[in-house]
């Protein structure tokens, strides 16, 4: 047996020995059995939570709406949705968490929905939705984002209450029932574990429903020092008088309106190269050469027409079709997500270290959502590598110029709860792979991203040089 075969055999045996050496799986599983089932995170929520508190509360509510599949078939929760659908007007006040903030919501069946986020009585954000179009207004920046509607408004209202837990195992607790104007409001409670490692339920989700099963109050309680303490709450009133001016999308003369749909359509109409696979279409929309040192490439992945025909038009209710990562060398500096769309910006170095006129990118694409389920169920591959041949144009300026232009566009287009989610970031290899990211791109983020990018590139170069230097044989450590 040659030394290479012997080495491979020794390595395999070492792997076996490491597995035999301890009881990691048993100890891990012992703890896993006491942990809650992991869930897909509300990623956009977390990204957006980095913005100001009341604004975050408002945006997050919108994003949560957008991220979840509508369900209104269960008995209690179905009744809640039905109650909203049958109402002419609704007024809701939600006080999330311990923030000094409040989210107030008005709904008029004929006019639409208004959500207002306030912090210490100062309006931080306004969201309007007439069922076809939505507007989000930020009074601080004067920015208005005009985009498609968030979806079915009564369903949205029901989601905003956070009463979806009524879909799950709730119990009627008569001790907390209330008599209001001669009507009995029943208290429904769901217990759950909130803290990591909690052995027993330390959080209660509570809702009061009237005799028609319309929701009127909602509350979250947490166990603090053995006592249940109210954490957040909401009140819902039906068929109250609402000033129709509240639904007018007039935000003053000084506002700066960005029509997200048009901006996206304009961007996606650009096409440099295209390839298809798994029912998805991968397109290169832009290739920008910076100082003959590399290229910035903007790609997007969308469902093909055949996929849309099979699974329906992308919408907030039908949003995930696929995503992708660059298999070629490159750094991802921004990402944008909208229903049926993932677009991302990459800095690609020259393949052989020298400027070239053409290059082939290699991109791994992944089917998601219903498309993934179908491919998975029929035992077909749900991921694939696609090549894309691109022609490199002449230099368009410095890296800073090139990135700043793209980030300015992202600044304008991002931020709305039901528009699109955009994030700019770069992996900071020096900081052990941590990502430096900004959910609301601005000038500071351009500077920081470029700084981290250069630092990382320098680090990679230094590491490569160190690697080359380590060519001498090294003696065994023991």
């Amino acid at each position: 047996m040659n030394s290479d075969s012997k080495l491979k055999q020794s390595l395999t045996q070492l792997g076996d020995a490491l597995r035999k050496g301890g009881s990691i799986p048993d100890q891990v599983m012992q703890q896993v059995r006491g942990l809650p089932i992991p869930h897909r995170p509300r990623r956009a929520w977390r990204i957006l939570m980095k913005t100001s508190l009341a604004a975050a509360a408002l945006i997050c509510i919108g994003v949560i709406l957008a991220l979840h599949t509508w369900t209104d078939t269960s008995s209690l929760y179905g009744d809640v949705v039905k109650g909203f659908r049958e109402a002419n007007t609704i007024h809701m006040t939600m006080t999330p968490d311990a923030m000094h903030s409040c989210v107030e919501i008005w709904y008029d069946k004929a006019k639409g929905l208004r959500i207002e986020g306030r912090k210490e009585n100062v309006i931080e954000l306004v969201y309007l939705d007439d069922g076809a179009t939505s507007w989000q207004f930020d009074p601080v920046s004067g920015k208005v984002i005009k985009a498609a509607s968030g979806g079915d408004l009564p369903t949205m209202m029901a989601k905003l209450t956070g009463a979806e837990f009524l879909n799950e195992k709730v119990r009627h607790v008569p001790d907390g029932d209330k008599k209001v104007d001669g009507d009995l409001w029943e208290q429904y409670v769901m217990d759950r574990k909130y803290s990591d490692g909690a052995k027993e339920a330390d959080e209660q989700l509570v809702a009061w429903l009237d005799s028609h099963k319309r929701i009127h109050e909602i509350e979250t309680r947490r166990l603090v020092d053995g006592k249940w303490v109210r954490h957040d709450s909401g009140k819902i009133e039906y068929d109250v008088a609402i000033d129709e001016k509240l639904f007018s999308p007039q935000f003053g003369k000084e506002v700066n309106t960005h029509d997200v749909k048009k901006m996206l359509d304009d961007l996606l109409s650009l096409k440099v190269a295209q390839n298809e696979g798994l029912g998805l279409q991968l397109t290169v929309h832009k290739v920008v050469n910076w100082e003959d040192k590399g290229v910035l490439v903007l790609l997007s992945l969308r469902p093909t027409q055949a996929t849309i025909k099979e699974f329906g038009e992308p919408s907030w209710l039908n949003r995930e079709f696929g995503d992708f990562v660059m298999a070629s060398r490159g750094d991802n500096i921004a990402i944008l997500k909208a229903p049926g769309l993932q677009a991302s910006w990459w800095l690609i170095p020259w393949p052989d270290g020298k400027p070239t006129k053409e290059m082939t990118l290699s991109v791994n694409i992944y089917a998601r959502g219903k498309l993934n389920d179908k491919l998975f169920a029929t035992k077909q591959a749900w991921h694939k590598t696609l090549p894309l041949r691109i022609v490199v144009p002449a230099s368009a300026g410095t890296l800073r110029d090139v990135i700043a232009k793209e980030y300015t566009w992202l600044c304008d287009v991002s931020g709305g709860p039901t528009s699109i989610a955009a994030q700019v970031s770069v992996v900071d290899a020096v900081q052990t792979g941590k990502s430096t990211s900004f959910s609301t791109p601005d000038k500071t983020s351009v500077d920081k991203i470029i700084e981290v990018y250069h630092k990382t590139q320098q680090w990679v170069q230094d590491m490569n040089e160190k690697e080359k230097a380590v060519t001498r044989p090294v003696s065994a450590p023991r």
């Binding site: 080495l7 390595l11 792997g15 992991p38 869930h39 298999a327 044989p473 090294v474 450590p477 023991r478």
Partner: protein, 176 residues
């Protein structure tokens, strides 16, 4: 054998027990990742356990299930670094200084001297090369599976493995 993807879907759908085969599948490479940082096999076992628990909690955020092994290996490295900081001691280099507890001590078995020596050499490989090597030999993944997990080409993986073999032979004095 169920794929990582199937097992992860199963966990997310509510079956915690499906996490067990994932832990068993990647136990050795995760342990090697932690040992490379900590230089101590027992401490590496603790860090590995924590890494799997972190991975379980964050499983829903894993976008590419085929990259689970690579991902949990990275978590193990971070956990190991965190252990080092907690212990307020300087890294002792990627050297497995002490063997594990003697056989029968608490049910855990020590590595043989040869294996200890080989693990120390594996720990001295550059991180990327070590990850590929441990996925290949400790986790038993095929080249295509490693390529998918790391997002690299099969040719690149093959070259990384050859380079690692060469380095290991050099470190071990051509006597694995």
């Amino acid at each position: 054998m169920q794929s990582d993807d199937e097992l992860i879907r199963s966990v997310l759908a509510g079956c915690r027990e499906s996490f067990d085969p994932l832990v068993r599948r990647y136990e050795a490479s995760v342990l090697a990742s932690a040992a490379a940082v900590l230089g101590d096999l027992e401490a590496a076992r603790d860090a590995s356990q924590e890494a799997f628990l972190v991975a379980y909690r964050k499983l829903g955020s894993l976008r590419r299930p085929e990259a689970f092994g690579w991902w949990v290996g990275r978590i193990a490295k971070r956990q190991a670094l965190s252990h080092l900081r907690q212990c307020k001691r300087e890294p002792q280099g990627p050297h497995v200084e002490e063997p594990a507890l003697p056989a029968g001590g608490d049910g855990r078995q020590a590595l043989s001297e040869d294996h200890d020596r080989l693990l120390a050499a594996v720990a001295r490989l550059p991180e990327q090369d070590r990850a590929v090597l441990t996925m290949r030999y400790f986790d038993g993944l095929k080249l295509e599976e490693i390529a998918k997990a790391t997002g690299k080409g099969i040719g690149t993986i093959s070259k990384q493995l050859s380079r690692s073999h060469k380095r290991l032979r050099e470190m071990l004095g051509d006597n694995p």
